[in-house]
Every structure is written in structure tokens, then in C-alpha cells.
Subunit: 276 residues, 2 copies
């Protein structure tokens, strides 16, 4: 297959490296910065530097830029794609872009399938990309109105580069779950390091501090975009978290040992149930 990857940041770059390492597909990279796309060619992550014309030979296009750019890129360049080309994205939110991309693609005879590779790091840019990023990760597919063969093609490609789980869902369920599993940990890592104590943590901290603060090393432009594209589910999850923190705080303030122990026990049981 001819695969075009637009945007060689950490996810696009990792997709390129993984396809180059684990498959025989022909990988074409398109990127705003010339230096990065040249670097990717030198690294063997892509086989060819693409231009807009390259979209015409793509079987699959992975859009790996910021959410708003994805929609405008496909809309403005719809004429360049081959008919029935499969277009997917790697966005962290779906409701906000799936409808628009489905409409644009339907009008232009293209197959849009939403995707969300559940992998990342607390770093961004091509320099942080790696072929192994997707090993044993989950690949979420949001089919929207795409034909079944498109969904199957993306699932197969995901398996080829190391994903172990394929989860098929709707934009609404995706966004609700991601608010909890991905956005909320980023919100709370940022809220956590805002404590005045944080700057003095050296020598007083260990694994639990390190783990909860890790993703505070955030790309604020990308995540502002993601948070504001998913306001309602995210806001609800923050509210639920605040309620649960308040329940624990009240038990601490009131010196209610049995109530506190019961709250912690319920959390442990949920977590252990999920470990099994």
C-alpha cells in the first residue's frame, strides 16, 4: 500500500517509523517543516517526501496534525485525493471533527474513518517519536459512515505495527471515555504541580509523586484545543473528581476513620477489579 502521513510529530513520526520497520508499505511523509521531513527520510522513517500531488497515489492517509488543521487541510485539498482513498486521523477528540470530516469526505468520494491510537509520551515533536510507541497499545476506531472494508483495513494496519487491541466505538462514547482516561489525568497533573509545595519537592518525593506529575510536562497549545473540543464530558469528569476528593477531605477533616477506610477500600476494589 501507499501510505501518506501528514504531520510528522510524535504520533505521525512514530507511525512512519513503525510502518517502515514492521511492514513493506511505501511511506510518504508530508510536513510543514522541511528539516523534519528531510530528517525522517534520512532516518528511513519515510521512503519519499510528499507534496500535495502525492495524495493522489495514497491508499490510506493518516492526518497527524492539530485537530482544526486536519479539517481545513482535507477540505481545501479534497480534489488531490484519489477516489475512495481512506482518510483517517489520530485526534484525541472525535465528536468535534468526525461529523465535519464525514461530510467533506462523502461529498468528495473519500472514506473517512476516525482513529485514536492510545499511545503517547509527555514529549512532543518528531524527536520524541519511536517505532515501538504502539506496542501492546489500544487502537480506537470510530467508523462514522465509512464502509466496512475501510475499518478492516485500518484495523489490519494497526495490528501490523504493534497495537494489541482494536476498540470500535462512536464519537460520543469515545469522547466521554477519553475525558476520563486521558484528559482528566492531564488536568489533574497540571492542577497538582500548581501547589506551592511543588517547587520544594526534591528529597521528599518518590514514585507516586513522579507518576501523577509526569504529564504536567504538557503541550499547552494542543491540550487547550483538545480540552475545549470536549468541554461537556471533561467538565463533568472534573466535577466528579472534585466531589470524590471532597468526600475524602470531609472524612479526613471529620476524623472519620471507618468512613475513610471504606472509601479507600472501594477504590482499591475498583482498581483491583481492573487489574485482573
Amino acid at each position: 500500500m501507499n501510505i501518506v502521513i501528514v504531520g510528522l510529530g510524535i504520533i505521525g513520526g512514530s507511525l512512519a517509523k513503525a510502518f517502515a520497520k514492521y511492514t513493506n508499505h511505501h511511506i510518504i511523509g508530508i510536513n510543514r517543516s522541511e528539516i523534519t521531513v528531510q530528517q525522517a527520510l534520512n532516518d528511513g522513517a519515510i521512503h519519499e517526501i510528499g507534496k500535495l500531488d502525492s495524495l493522489g497515489k495514497a491508499d490510506v492517509v493518516y492526518m497527524c496534525t492539530y485537530p482544526e488543521h486536519i479539517v481545513s487541510f482535507v477540505e481545501n485539498n479534497a480534489g488531490y485525493f484519489r477516489k475512495n482513498c481512506i482518510i483517517t486521523d489520530v485526534c484525541g477528540i472525535k465528536k468535534n471533527i468526525c461529523g465535519r470530516l464525514t461530510d467533506i469526505c462523502e461529498k468528495n468520494g473519500l472514506q473517512y474513518v476516525g482513529s485514536h491510537p492510545m499511545a503517547g509520551k509527555e514529549q512532543s515533536s518528531y524527536a520524541a517519536s519511536e517505532a515501538e510507541l504502539f506496542q501492546n497499545a489500544s487502537y480506537i476506531i470510530v467508523p462514522c459512515k465509512a464502509k466496512e472494508y475501510s475499518v478492516q483495513a485500518l484495523a489490519s494496519l494497526a495490528k501490523e505495527i504493534g497495537f494489541s487491541t482494536i476498540r470500535i466505538t462512536t464519537p460520543a462514547e469515545h469522547d466521554r471515555m477519553i475525558a476520563f482516561t486521558s484528559q482528566l489525568p492531564h488536568v489533574l497533573a497540571c492542577a497538582y504541580v500548581m501547589s506551592p509545595c511543588c517547587k520544594n519537592h526534591n528529597g521528599f518525593s518518590a514514585g507516586s509523586y513522579r507518576d501523577v506529575s509526569r504529564v504536567a510536562n504538557i503541550n499547552e497549545t494542543l491540550w487547550t484545543d483538545l480540552f475545549l473540543s470536549n468541554q461537556e464530558p471533561l467538565s463533568e469528569e472534573i466535577s466528579i473528581l472534585i466531589q470524590n476528593l471532597t468526600a475524602i477531605k470531609n472524612a479526613v477533616d471529620g476524623n472519620k476513620a471507618e468512613e475513610l477506610k471504606e472509601l479507600l477500600k472501594q477504590s482499591r476494589l475498583v482498581k483491583q477489579g481492573l487489574c485482573e
Copy 2:
């Protein structure tokens, strides 16, 4: 040196294994459960199964049981210890026990020095202990009224078993910092997994979910005790976290992109400052 370790859970067991592996000190284990202490002997983690009489030959005693048990054990058995024996503990809070242990030890001609090895896992019991637990970790010493040689002796022992940092502080500063670096991550991990979404996370989650929820696998008896022994600093840290979560939530609800981006940027700068 003759070292007695009372309580062979994850911390006491790991201390025993580390001393046995990295030093030539003679290690004596005292434990409520016979099966565990016999296992430790079989593992070579201790050289001798101790009784109360064994306290009489100890140069250093590490009290590794629950906070309340530590105070009552030292009080009830003060007559068994050798004069000028160094007694330390591994408790996660200090103000609540340091004063009482200092008084008991002063009355009985013993040297009490508070300690807190900043290492642990989301598991408890001897089965989870390991010799490598303290590699590159920080060892906090709370000298209270102990003589300098006792503090130096504990610092040297800590270095021998792999700790890379020694931090000397007061009970009050210790408890304030630990409320933030250790207790708050446990509170928020528990509050986090209480979301109704949590049980459905499979296929939707990756590293940020895993890291923030890790310590929800909590020992609720121990942590209820620790939280209630540090009510004021912990309660204040939870309040600060709720304030910061609310600031982010308000920016999300109000669709305030610039304000949200600025909040996230400040968090990133704090985190990056700490990474350097």
C-alpha cells in the same frame, strides 16, 4: 553492627534484604507472623529470628510496623533495649509519633531518630519486598533530640543499602511536604478511580490513566492511619488541588482558550523547572 528489624512487611522486608545483600551487618528479624519470619530466614534476608530479648544486643532497631504499634511497642518494651541503642522508624508521618517516641526514649536512655525511606510500591507485605527497593531513593531523617552520631549512623546505613539522597528536616516540614508528595497522590488516585467511567476503561486507556490510578491499589488500613495522623496539611493540600482543578474547569466551561493555555503553560514550566 547488630540490626534488629521489627515488622517484615514491604519496607522492613526490603531493609532486611538490602542489608543482607549489600552489607556485613548481622540482621535479626522480629515479626508477628511466624511464617513470614521463617520465610525471611530461608531467603537469607535475616540471619536470626529475634525475640524481645534480642533487642538487648541491637545497635540499631528499625521499627517497621504501623504507626500506633511502633509507639506502644517501644513504650511497653523499653526495658529490653540496650542503653544508647538507636531506635528509628519508617513511618510516613512524623509529628504525631516523633514527640511521643522522643519522650519515651529520653526517659529510657535510648536514642530516637525519625526516618522515612521515600520508596514503596502499590503492594504491601513481605512478598512484595526486594533488596533493590531503595536504589537511588531519598532517605529523610528527622533528628528530633537525638545526638549527632545517631543521625550520622543512620545516614551511613542508608547509603550502604542504595539511597542516593539524605534529607534532614523537622517533623512539621516533613509532614507538610509528604502531604503533597505522597499522601495527595494516593488521595487523588482513589478519588480518580471512583468515576463511574472507570470500570469501562479497557481499550480506552494508556499511560496517563495507568500512572495516575496506580496507587489506588491502596492498603486502606495503613493509609487511613497515615491520613488521619496528618489531617491539617493533607486537608490543605486537597483544598489547594480542588481550587486548581476548579480554575481549569472554569476556563474549560467558559471556553477561555487563552486563560486555559496560560494555566497549562505555568504547570509545564513548574514541571520542567523540576525536571532540570
